[in-house]
Amino acid sequence: MKILALDSSGLVASVAVLDGDTIQSEYTMNYKKTHSQTLLPMLEAVKELTNLDLSTIEAIAVAAGPGSFTGLRIGSATAKGLGLALNTPIISVPTLEGLAYIFYGSDKIICPIMDARRNQVYAGLYSFEKKGPIYEMTTIKGQCATDIDALLDEINKLDTDVMFLGDGVPVFEQTIKEKCKIGFSFAPAHMNRQRAGAVAAYGRVLYEAGKYESAAEHAPEYLRLSQAERERMEGIDTSCISVR
């Protein structure tokens, strides 16, 4: 089957087309330009260079959060537009699971972390279990927003080495080095950020497990309320919010 995958959850913009067991194309950029200006032009280039017939796409996989709120919406709105026009379902790939899947088959515990500001990270813990000829990704700790210290406390109770990756690594590298008591390492350059190829490959696993939705239903998973909602729930007066 053919899956078109997108990831614009962080600084990286990435698009890929999976055809059966191969990535037919993958275009990844880590450059400070808004995803709104890069994502569609990248897709356009991929289509052009590979003579991609869009009508052969059977599903759209998108890194559906957590991540930058705006980045997630650019990815999701793009996926929804594609899904509407091509009449295909959307596979919502949890961002951190998509990141972890880059390390398919690893014997380490995989810990993708994304900078979530306010001294927090979006993180999850994953491992791979061999089931016959394939590996299955299992979730030790599902993706969540957490204080880095709390995450490291939890990691210190594990008995397997941990591999860190994601844009949270440069931000919290020092903290990890100081506080992580078990064996750990940091992923190398070609495996340490979002890759739409991994979103596509893992998206296929989810699709085959029946985990997909209609383009109309799809929405990102932010893992956080908006500031206004948070303050309202905490009883802070929000009536001073600017009108427009």
Binding site: E44, S76, A77, T78, L84, S226, A228
Partner: protein, 345 residues
């Protein structure tokens, strides 16, 4: 129903998400609205006394496909029948705009249709073409809404010159703030309009602000402060305020300034036709004053129905049509431009 997908016809699928309305429409040949779907988020934002950008953006993404699909369905067309996709790319809330822009680009890309980025204010002005088939440029237009107050010279389709703008608050913003202060709540425009009908517009004299450097510019923050000062003074003196009187007097002050500036522009630029547009254009006091002032000067006066005054996609489809036939096309790198100026690309 006659055949709507005649080969000669230009059908625009338009998308609008610049503030708190998620909207899509199908417009035929720039003047005929085949569908106009609006999902208003107003109830969500009422809790906060105003539009919360992050909440608006989140709601847009939940509703966007549903609204587009319904617009196509109600128009009785499919995406195949559509000639081009038009989308608001500014001005507005950046996160909100990005939802519409991203979805529109993806649809245009996947369906192989041309894309036309539309200016939100141009859309408001073009709303006047929907129900007034004889209206053609040139004419003068006052655009007044929660986010905008512009006096515009419409030279031709797609050709605009801004002759006056607000220096501070938009007219609609002043309505919202005053409504909050007198306990009417959000959104202020319709609520003030309603209670004003029971009040005396001459009960309190609030200032009519002038801007020295440009006679056509507006300033509403002074008026807002004057109302707040009045309320404070009443409170200190223990005087019970008469809400309808305050509302009516405030509204009259806004209307007077808008009408006066517009009439001066009509005189200087020799407009034979004048239109109003934007959310505040559905204010009954404003309409009545303009009808009166224009009739006195034998100027043809135009205004859209309330449904085309508030943010909607039909108006974007109309503006998109005129840009499309002029050959305007947007690329796949089209970005949301929150501070987009009218007449700029």
């Amino acid at each position: 129903m006659e055949s709507i997908n005649n080969k000669e016809d230009v059908l625009i699928l338009a998308i609008e998400s610049s503030c708190d309305e998620t909207a899509a429409a199908v417009v035929k040949n720039g003047r005929e609205v085949l569908s106009n779907i609006i999902f208003s988020q107003i109830d969500l934002h009422t809790l906060y006394g105003g539009v919360v950008p992050e909440i608006a953006s989140r709601k847009h993404i939940e509703k966007i496909n549903q609204v587009i699909e319904q617009a196509l369905k109600e128009a009785g067309v499919t995406l195949d029948d559509i000639t081009a996709i038009a989308v608001t790319y500014g001005p507005g809330l950046v996160g909100a705009l990005l939802v519409g822009v991203s979805a529109a680009k993806a649809i245009a890309f996947a369906a192989g249709k041309p894309l036309v980025g539309v200016h939100h204010i141009e859309g408001h002005i073009c709303a006047n073409y929907i129900e007034n088939k004889e209206l053609e440029p040139p004419f003068g237009c006052l655009v007044v809404s929660g986010g905008h107050s512009h006096l515009v010279r419409v030279k031709d389709y797609g050709e605009y010159e801004i002759i006056g703008r607000t220096r501070d608050d938009a007219a609609g913003e002043a309505f919202d703030k005053v409504a909050r202060a007198i306990g009417l709540g959000y959104p202020g425009g319709p609520k003030i309009d309603k209670v004003s009908k029971e009040g005396n517009p001459d009960a309190i004299h609030f200032p009519r602000a002038k801007v020295d450097e440009n006679v056509y510019d507006f300033s509403f923050s002074g008026l807002k402060s004057a109302v707040l000062n009045y309320l404070n003074q009443c409170e200190m003196k223990g005087i019970q305020i008469v809400v309808p009187d305050v509302a009516a007097s405030f509204q009259k002050s806004v209307v007077d300034v808008l009408v006066e500036h517009s009439m001066q522009a009509i005189k200087e630029f020799g407009f034979k036709k004048f239109a109003i547009a934007g959310g505040v254009a559905s204010n009954s006091g404003l309409r009545a004053a303009f009808e009166d002032a224009c009739a006195k000067r034998k100027i043809e006066f135009y205004h859209p129905s309330p449904i085309f005054c508030t943010d909607n996609a039909a108006m974007i489809g109309v503006a998109g049509y005129y840009e499309y036939i002029k050959g305007v096309r947007s690329g796949m790198d089209l970005n949301a431009v929150p501070g987009l100026k009218l007449g700029e690309r």
